[in-house]
Symmetry: C2
Subunit: 412 residues, 2 copies
């Protein structure tokens, strides 16, 4: 893609209300633009990263045979009255009326709708288990939207729901999703810790949260680098340096960003909403449910928080909006221009995601933007272009080499 | 994918309120499920078709250098007051208040938001033109939601917006989009006619609609099979058999389903919302805009309407949820089961989208479901499976052949 057409509006200054590094950088690098408090437009470069995260999620969920559907954002109050949440849910639930004064809400989560989908079709244990998920826009009227995409009012989530005939089968799905989440976050460049948590508004029997350790997180987490131990500090009561309950190593304390959560719902929704099946012994039983949330816009934000300095981002390979960034020092120079386009067309022809800075800007402006945008491999086409030579920079290692244009593929 | 896990809840009877063929079939084939009037869940098979249509749109728009972003559904009233539409738009605009009593609407269209995005960054003719699009969920509180996905209250659209420095450049984009739309619809199996139309709620200088001729359409269109002529009947005043104004052939009359519309907005929004740029002569001018809508859920519905009989769908190749449907006559038969899985794994390994009916159902049930679901190529694994022979059916031609399992790829 050519940078002039992609629309990457970089800024020298972050908006005044941007408090944390990721919010500042995402605004300055032209990834997002605020529309109202907690409500954002994903600009082309930011949306490419979102789509990469979505692709990773789809690939990993396909491995565990989860099936994708799409439920609506508008949900009728009837369903929420069946589950009892219409009354219980506070002002975070955005409510509205249609032209005939019927009550609706904008879904912050989709337990009611998925139960309505499944209960009408599934009547026998033979049709269980089922694992269904969607990637969808959610709404939550936060009291205090903040930190950019961290606490937004409109955000993108993957939410999955499983339906099992037995508690043992729910355990199997719960473990599958837990493992899959770790894999997904790893591919997004995030190391996560699993923390046992409250069931909160969702309800149910058991819940775990997936936390990325970060100074901008909202929960205090005690964790260990040597083993999997992690817990909310208020639950564990431990302080920095205490011996770790699992392996004895000293405890660390950090703030955590919650990027995912999974719940054993049990029969909370299937009982209240009458989602039953006939078991092999002929008896009627409520389905046993699990639900599995993953914050996609928040994963983007956490990844920027982890993989950046104050002056720019460096994308983890799998979610980077492009793999290679071609920056000609001076586009008015005929040799540089021709070589830049030649490399650009060659790499695109090979299916490589490549961004060409085709703007007639000063070299300093282009390099500064490139540092900000954070594509991992950079090709600088400069004074040696007459001999077909370019500078290849691996930004992960910061190794720079003057190489021949024919050797580029070997370097990727 | 295995049919038992995909969740394809086929029905013998369509819901009582389903009036038209596509709505009946989409409900019976397990493509959609109603949540409230005009509000649907896309079930896995239906959502796969939606994603295929989206892929085609992205591929075709990339060819004309349009860039994808994602704007929010929640839009603050401030922006709509700037454009003057907050007062003008009727009860079709869904309005709500947040917890601090600030007014918002759910976007039926995104002129205001895209202008807010572009005006803050683009100040010079050097940064024009721009072509931006999104694939997004839209809301319109229809007085009478009906015909399934045809007149829904929550629906999926592609909406694009161009920003030009000159009227001539807008003309160039308008023609590019018009041609691209024809290509997109063709790949979705739809022949469309372009009909000049009213500018309506969107406003602007000129508009065209893309119509699929169908008995369930909502507008009466006079058109010609021999040339490109098409017009709203109330504008043309022509009746069936009149000579066609362009080529002299006899006029036909049919109902039309509107699947796309394009508008030359001109400076309507850029003037009211102060989206200006400095031109090459140093003067300040409002940007000249175009907007281009394409109804994705409606394209799905129109395609089912065109490519089906009362007993089932036959998907156009490029949007079919799967390319091949493997149906074992009797899964309890060891030869049949093993051969079915062998073919399934082979084809998947070659990257072919294949659906395996792995249900222990009677053959009659499976064949009826297969006819309903409408995958274009079918492999029946039956009594000759011991010799590695299967029946290959091309449903477009209805040619059936008994072939060796090793020859399958040649037949696709």
């Amino acid at each position: 893609m050519k940078q002039s057409l992609l629309f990457v509006p970089t800024l020298k200054e972050a908006p005044k209300d941007a408090e944390v590094k990721s919010h500042k950088l995402m605004s300055r690098a032209g990834l997002i633009k605020q529309v109202a408090a907690g409500i954002y437009t994903y600009l082309p470069l930011g949306y490419k990263v979102i789509q990469n995260i979505e692709r990773i999620i789809r690939e990993e969920l396909e491995k565990i045979d989860a099936s994708e559907l799409l439920m609506p954002a508008l949900q009728p109050s009837d369903l929420w009255k069946e589950s009892g949440r219409w009354e219980k849910y506070g002002p975070e639930l955005m409510r509205l009326q249609d032209r005939k004064n019927r009550d609706f809400c904008l879904g912050p989560t989709h337990e009611e709708v998925i139960v309505q989908v499944v209960r009408d079709y599934v009547n026998s244990y033979k049709k269980l288990p089922l694992a269904l998920y969607q990637i969808q826009t959610k709404f939550r009227d936060e009291m205090r939207p903040r930190f950019g995409l961290m606490r937004g009012r409109e955000f993108i989530m993957k939410d999955a729901y499983t339906f099992s005939a037995t508690a043992e089968d729910l355990d199997v799905w719960y473990k599958k999703f837990s493992k899959t989440y770790i894999d997904i976050f790893k591919r997004c460049g995030l190391d996560t810790k699993i923390v046992n948590s409250d069931v909160g508004q969702i309800g149910g029997d058991e819940a775990d949260e997936f936390m990325v350790m970060s100074e901008v997180g909202e929960d205090s987490i005690t964790y260990c680098d040597m083993c999997d131990y992690a817990a909310n500090q208020e639950h564990s009561g431990l302080v920095e340096g205490d011996p770790c309950p699992v392996c004895g190593a000293p405890i660390k304390v950090a703030k955590g960003i919650e990027v995912g959560n999974i719940f054993k719902l049990g029969t909370k929704y299937s009982e209240s909403m009458n989602a039953k099946f006939i078991d092999s012994d002929g008896s009627s039983k409520p389905m046993i449910m699990g639900c599995y949330g993953l914050g996609i816009s928040r994963t983007l934000m956490a990844s920027v928080e982890q993989h950046s300095t104050e002056s720019g981002i460096l994308w983890p390979k799998e979610i980077s909006p492009f793999q290679i960034h071609i920056v000609p020092v001076n586009l008015k120079d005929e040799f540089q221009r021709e070589l830049s386009y030649e490399i650009y067309n060659n790499l695109r022809g090979k299916g490589i995601e490549v961004l060409l800075d085709d703007r007639y800007e000063r070299a300093g402006v282009k390099f500064k933007d490139a540092d900000l945008i954070g594509i991992p491999y950079r090709i600088i086409v400069g004074k040696d272009s007459g001999e077909g030579k370019i500078e290849f920079i691996n930004r992960y290692t910061d190794i720079k080499k003057l190489i021949n244009k024919t050797d580029i593929l070997d370097y990727i």
